[in-house]
């Protein structure tokens, strides 16, 4: 469901307060001010001028994302512990895990590329899951963990750089490319990886940053 919100009139622009309380929100893409209205659970509000997403409402965002994060961490361990693909060419077998390609790139003299792949396909997605767990688990128990502000900012900043789903597309393309010359055996890690992509997509869809920000005190 989509809801439009009406912008506030010129007369309602200021309060006596040091802060303009959370009654208003400025569109982060065109700076137009809007009243924050109560919208139904699962709904979202968009800017009336440029249609950017202003805010969403997800009542049990923390529960959902926490559950998905823990599932994601388990799947992440599975995806890294077992072979992902095996190539068979006659009597020769070649096994690969998530990290094999990174080692190979490094060995072949492209360390920069190896580091970029390691970061975007392994380390940053893992960091995102760990940091989410660090924030959401205490929040779920009614506590605010130290440094929530900077940590959650980092989580949001990591978003575009964790590219596991792009990696999955790359794996599929590589499999099809090889399928005419060799037999490809799909390993357990590949299934874990596939489910992990779904879980990560679920986290993106269920995460309502406001539910975290609202728990922080304004100093």
């Amino acid at each position: 469901m989509r809801f439009c919100v009406t912008p506030i009139g010129p007369q309602g622009q200021h309060t006596e307060d040091h802060l303009v309380k959370s009654k208003f929100i400025a569109c982060h893409e065109c700076d137009l001010l809007h009243h924050v209205r109560v919208i139904p659970d699962g709904g979202s509000a968009r800017c009336i001028r440029c249609a950017a997403l202003l805010y969403r409402r997800k009542d049990n965002s923390i529960d959902q994302v926490l559950a998905l994060t823990i599932t994601g961490l388990i799947l992440f361990a599975l995806a890294n512990a077992f072979p992902m693909l095996t190539m068979r060419l006659d009597a020769n077998f070649q096994e690969t895990t998530l990290l094999t390609g990174v080692f190979q790139l490094w060995k072949q003299g492209l360390p920069g590329l190896a580091v970029l792949v390691l970061l975007t396909s392994v380390l940053l997605p893992l960091l995102k899951l760990l940091l989410l767990a660090y924030i959401l688990l205490p929040l779920r128990l009614g506590m605010v963990p130290p440094a929530t502000g900077p940590v959650f900012r980092l989580v949001l900043a990591l978003q575009p750089w964790a590219m596991m789903e792009v990696f999955l597309l790359g794996v599929l393309v590589a499999m099809v490319k090889l399928s005419s010359t060799a037999e490809i055996i799909v390993g357990l890690a590949m299934y874990a990886f596939g489910f992990l992509i779904l879980v990560l997509a679920g986290i993106t869809a269920s995460l309502d940053p406001n539910t975290v920000w609202e728990r922080l005190e304004v100093r």
Partner: protein, 208 residues
Amino acid sequence: MEMQLPIASLAGLTSCHSCQLLLHRPPDGAAHAECPRCGATLHMRKPRSLARTWAFLVASVIFYFPAMALPIMTTTTFQGTRHDTILSGIYYLLTTGMWPLAAIVFFASVVVPILKIIILIMLVFTVQRGSDWRRRDRTRLYRLTEAVGRWSMVDIYVVTILVALVRLQGLAFIEAEPGAVFFACVVVLTMFAAKSFDPRLIWDKQER
């Protein structure tokens, strides 16, 4: 439209880039203002947005040529050696009858980076000219550019997987080549370019 719209910057307000908390604008000349809720540094607009975006764009255009011209990988089999660029890899997919895959890779590796660079150049250029041409559509284009850029990394991952799988000495061996490095640089630089651009600049002129 003569109606005066309530614009945060004109009302002396600014919102935090991270948590969207609406605040009174920090006084001009304040060296360092922090969001009282999440601790992010406060800016009215992303700092030196246009200069940064230009810098990343110019760099990505320079890297684009070697990325397309140099081979991204070399395949050695008992039949001989084969060098593949981004484009020849797509052509190979096409000739082996896998055209849907060829289309996906062509879109992600060729169309997206070029379109991204062209759109961002257009956005920076129109902002610098103070243009009021189709602001809403330009903002939408920006949003799209920011969202799809990461999918260009797919070819880098294809090379990573192939390099990991195909290393049967004497039978078949695939090696990554510097073209892949240049291509990765293009993707990362265009992502930084999109991040540096502040879409609010598209709307700013109208309000003065």
